[in-house]
Amino acid sequence: MSKHTIEMTINGRRHTADVESRVSLSDFLREDAGYTGVHIGCDHGVCGACTVMVNGEAVRGCLMLAVQADGARVTTVEGLAAPDGTLHPVQAALRDEHGLQCGFCTPGIVMTMAALSAREKRPTEEQLLNALSGHLCRCTGYQGIRRAARKLASPEPAESTGGDSV
């Protein structure tokens, strides 16, 4: 199969490679570029685990070909935390609200929320929850993910609703 030379910036680093046209962006990021934080839960566009940012927009890596991302600026979950290890606010909110268990769906959820949060206008709770309805998590029942979304949406730091007794 014929190969194409592509170049993209991944998490701030330039990356050049020869890829077959049939290779998806998610396989390319995992296997060629080594960003295994990109997870593949279904490979057919339903679960959202493969979500990455392409030029600032949340994109399902399994539904895009690597060649389509030629010249793009790509961010994966590995590229979010500060160089000193300080978690991105989305990551911190998910940790504080126990928004993950096995962590397999988590990178996609982080990227979707981070892409929305990076926009000029802070997303509303509804926008975040709508976007999250395209992510499947088999472990958590979404409780901590929703709490994290509420925290990120509200202008003031919301109180932890750790599910205390009613």
Binding site: G41, G141, G162
Partner: protein, 925 residues
């Protein structure tokens, strides 16, 4: 780790030493952030597909496109010629390994189960050939070019097909995979049912479920030497996988290293390897290169083992006050072609009435082979018991005209009723479903809801309230070989940091967090200074990992015991070094203090450094270092209890169900980390919502799976799951630390709570048949009073009729007692001597040898098995033998054997009390 007596213990019931006097409750019970999260949130987890080894090649499978047939030929020539393809294997190539695919109980299967199809295929998706190539896409290309010619046969797809259809497995008499209980309802029980003021006959049909962990199955296998094997595999316990592989392949267990650092969910699917993983392991040995196979979602949905497809009819007799009189259950489960264990789900019957004052219960339970992918566990595998009981009780409440809460209050076992034993002889000491219910009702105002419901109905709004209560056996250990205790090994390093190695395994359970909380709490160190290692069979000891809601209970107890042994040593050493009384020593936040002498305070690091490096300063006889280990054997069973309330609104124009409120009131004893506990419950409840409303693996009449993507198999999304509210009762259990298991409960109690809410909302329209999932179409059918589905479900009456009809449906082999061939010549009935026999139990075949001696009509002898030898006396007439054995374990029952000798063969059955009958067969030794 050295393990002299002073630092090692394995004794059950050993009570922990008094808690270190400082730091009480600092970490146990706190919602601390999880240790696992920072790596998982930053993409640094290590899942199986993240592993790459030098020289690694990739595997894809060619799979059967038909559900049943003979393989006429397999042509791999074209596929082999593809560039990048290294090898293609079929069962012929793997046969020399002679591998047994063992069950969870580590016994060989009832039917021959090979890694790749052996001359026949028995379900769509069955792996036929394994392709090894440079990359997965090339391997897939090649797999699609393998040509297989089949002689196709008509498949047996449903349980109903299995009852009537040709045996799935050639040579079998029928499609029964496992059976227990009585084929005819006992006469007295029948009379009680018939004579009761109210008899409820309730049927539940449960669809097939795909466990659907977000990480599919996968393995990287590499052969490191003649007998050495390293496996990276997504699993529920690296220790169980290592043990399974060593037994299945006949390799020494020490030569097998299994690593599974992060696992993306298991839910019962990943207990142990199955066909594909085994084929890859064998292929890696044959080809001598590291191999990787990562299941794609299509494969996972059609060819990974599945769960839950079952039907049950429960009859309940009640008096006019709603008091329970008697009950009978008839249960069937679809085992598929090659189940991970031949299952008739006896636990459904063991626990169906465990929480209720039910005087009498009888049952028949069966598992059926079909031409579908095999059965495996799924969170709360016996959950049908709660689903059918709780939904039937609501039907009974409506029928008799009693409030469903009142009906439960009249029948639930309360704390005051205990100790007692259930109608199935389960000892109950501290179950609290009634107490959970009362706590729930403090959090939810039922009468206010009823008013709202009434007002709503006048406006065309249909609100419903579902209440369910249940108990669940958790932390079981001792009754099954693989369900063991847990091992904790802990040390204070010379730096003062604490590291522990546990036999636990997390697929999201957060055991590295909860166990660290325990160590920090009991040793008086900061949570940040504790690191827990697991997920590698070369570290720690055996345990089955996550199976049966057990890790918090058992590993929690082990961690407490090991920590307390170590804390005692710290205080002994500190007392010696600081010239103080042991009782005056406390450890807090990594500092060792002497009561009343603040100037003597030292860091734990200083004490630890001395313990390792300055043997001359240690007290006489004190073992150097600060290390301890403990294997905790908990009580045989620890019960969790719960009551849930769920409020829904059903849109009667569309049939859509909206969940408005959900309260979980549960008693899980000591909660080590309430956020982890709630996470487990919430995850289970969401799965229950999927079961009731969304998920379904369906097949067409030819056995083709109809859900092959997540567009057809609907997992609950965030928009389908409400905010759950939690009420915790925390009655400490009798296990060390007081924990009760919490892994499966949500998936068990969630389904009846939601079904009851929907049925309550739709009560004005009539009863809702419990045929899951309750899709909008089915719900509109109830509202409109007619079946709106394209294919009407006409077998309901037939099913009940068939099962209440008198007369056994399955005969024991013709050689069994009573039907033995009486015309055999006398020379053929020599009883005396030794016999090799097999007892076919639902936990797998059990081999034993029998020794018989006759004296006229008196029979004596013994049966011996790996568990021991038991003597008996009995009678013999012709070639027919009768004798009883009383056994104590796993519970007290009398085994009644009736056998018939014919030539060098012996056959018959063994009645195992409430467990029904099992076949016995054998030959002269």
């Amino acid at each position: 780790m050295s393990a002299p007596d002073s630092t090692t213990g394995t004794q059950a019931g050993h009570q922990p030493a008094a808690r270190p006097r400082s730091g009480s409750g600092r970490y146990i019970g706190q919602r601390v952030p999880r240790k696992e999260d920072s790596r998982l949130l930053t993409g640094r987890g290590q899942f199986v597909d993240d592993i790459t080894l030098p020289g690694m090649l990739h595997v894809a499978f060619a799979r059967s496109p038909i559900a049943r047939g003979r393989i006429v030929s397999i042509d791999t020539d074209v596929a082999r010629d593809i560039a990048g393809v290294h090898a293609i294997y079929t069962q012929q190539d793997l046969a020399p390994f002679n591998v047994d695919l063992l069950s969870f109980y580590l016994v060989p299967p009832e039917v021959e189960t090979t890694p790749l199809a052996n001359g026949r295929v028995a379900y769509v998706g069955e792996p036929i050939a394994l392709v090894i190539a440079d990359s997965r896409p090339v391997a897939e290309d090649a797999a699609s070019l393998i040509e297989v010619v089949f002689a196709e046969e008509d498949p047996v797809v449903t349980i109903d097909d299995a009852r009537r259809g040709m045996p799935v497995h050639p040579g079998a008499e029928d499609n029964i995979a496992a059976q227990m209980g009585e084929e005819e309802i006992d006469e007295d029980l029948q009379a009680q049912l018939d004579g009761a003021p109210h008899l409820i006959t309730h049927r539940v049909v449960h669809q097939r479920i795909s466990q659907s962990p977000m990480e599919t199955r996968g393995v990287v296998a590499t052969r490191d030497g003649a007998e050495e094997l390293t496996l990276y595999i997504t699993c529920q316990s690296p220790h169980l996988v290592a043990r399974w592989v060593s037994l299945a392949l006949g390799l020494p267990q020490t030569a097998i290293r299994v690593i599974a650092k992060d696992v993306g969910g298991g839910f019962g699917l990943k207990n142990h390897p199955w066909m594909e993983e085994t084929a890859v392991i064998l292929a890696a040995q044959l080809f001598n290169r590291p191999l990787k196979w990562i299941e794609d979602r299509y494969e996972n949905l059609i060819a990974a083992n599945q769960a839950r497809e079952q039907e049950m009819v429960l009859q309940i007799a009640l008096d006019d006050e709603g008091k329970l009189i008697a009950s009978h259950g008839d249960y069937s489960v679809n085992n598929g072609a090659y189940p991970q264990l031949s299952e008739c789900n006896i636990a459904v019957h063991m626990f169906v009435w465990a929480a209720y004052k039910m005087p009498r219960y009888g049952f028949l339970t069966r598992g059926w082979y079909t031409n579908t992918v095999g059965y495996a566990a799924y969170r709360g595998p016996w959950a049908m018991e709660s689903l059918i009981r709780e939904t039937a009780l609501d039907v009974a409440a409506r029928r008799i005209g009693i409030d469903p809460i009142e009906l439960r209050r009249r029948n639930l076992v309360t704390l005051q009723d205990q100790p007692t034993t259930s109608c199935m002889d389960i000892p109950l000491e501290d179950i609290t479903p009634a107490e959970c219910l009362e706590k729930l009702l403090q959090a939810f105002d039922v009468s206010a809801f009823r008013k709202e419901q009434e007002a709503g109905r006048l406006q065309g709004r249909h609100l419903g309230l579902g209440i369910a209560t249940y108990v669940e056996p958790t932390g079981a250990a001792g009754a099954i070989t693989t369900m063991t205790g847990e091992l904790a090994q802990v040390r204070i390093e010379p730096t003062g940091k604490v590291t522990a190695t546990m036999s636990t395994h997390s697929q999201g359970h957060g055991t590295a967090t909860t166990m660290a909380q325990i160590f920090a709490d009991r040793l008086g160190v900061a949570y940040e200074d504790v690191t827990v290692f697991e997920g590698d069979s070369s570290r720690g000891g055996f345990s089955p990992g996550a199976a049966g809601s057990r890790q918090g209970v058992i590993a929690g107890g082990a961690a407490i015991m090991a920590a307390d042994l170590l804390a005692t040593r710290v205080r002994q050493l500190a007392a010696h070094l600081l010239e103080a009384e042991v009782d005056a020593i406390t450890v807090d936040d990594g500092m060792v203090h002497v009561e009343g002498a603040p100037d003597k305070s030292r860091s734990l690091a200083e004490i630890a450094s001395t313990a390792y490096g300055e043997p001359d300063r240690l007290p006489p006889g004190f073992e150097a270092g600060l290390e301890a280990q403990y294997r905790y054997q908990p009580p045989p069973m620890t019960f969790s209890s719960a009551a849930n309330a769920c409020v829904v609104e059903v849109d009667i124009d569309t049939g859509f169900v909206k969940i408005l409120r959900w309260i979980s009131s549960e008693d899980c004893g000591t909660a080590i980390n309430p956020s982890v506990v709630e996470g487990q419950i919430a995850g289970g409840l969401a799965q229950a919502i999927g079961m009731v409303l969304l998920e379904e693996v369906r097949f067409d009449a030819r056995g083709n799976p109809l859900a092959a993507t997540y567009k057809d198999y609907h997992l609950p999304a965030i928009s389908d799951v409400p905010d759950f509210e939690f009420v915790h009762a925390s009655t400490p259990s009798q296990s060390v630390g007081g924990m009760r298991g919490v892994g499966e409960g949500g998936a068990i109690i969630g389904a009846p709570a939601l079904v009851n809410a929907i049925a309550d909302a739709l009560a004005p329209f009539g009863e809702v048949p419990v045929d899951l999932p309750l899709t909008p179409t089915k719900i509109l059918g109830v509202i409109e009073g007619r079946d709106l589905r394209s294919k009407p479900d006409s077998d309901q009456h037939q099913f009940i009729a068939e099962h209440t009809a008198a007369g056994p449906q399955v005969e024991v082999p013709a050689t069994a007692a009573g039907t033995a061939d009486q015309t055999a010549a006398p020379a053929d009935i020599r009883v005396d001597g030794d016999w090799n026999m097999v007892l076919s139990t639902p936990m797998g075949p059990q081999e034993m040898t029998g020794h018989f001696e006759t004296d006229g009509q008196a029979l004596s002898g013994y049966l011996s098995s790996p568990e021991g030898q038991m003597e008996f006396t009995g009678t013999v007439e012709g070639g027919n033998l009768k004798f009883d054995l009383k056994v104590q374990k796993p519970m007290k029952i009398t085994l009644k054997y009736t056998l018939a000798v014919n030539g060098d063969k012996i056959a018959g059955k063994c009645k195992m009390g409430i467990f029904g009958s099992a076949k016995v067969s054998g030959t002269r030794a």
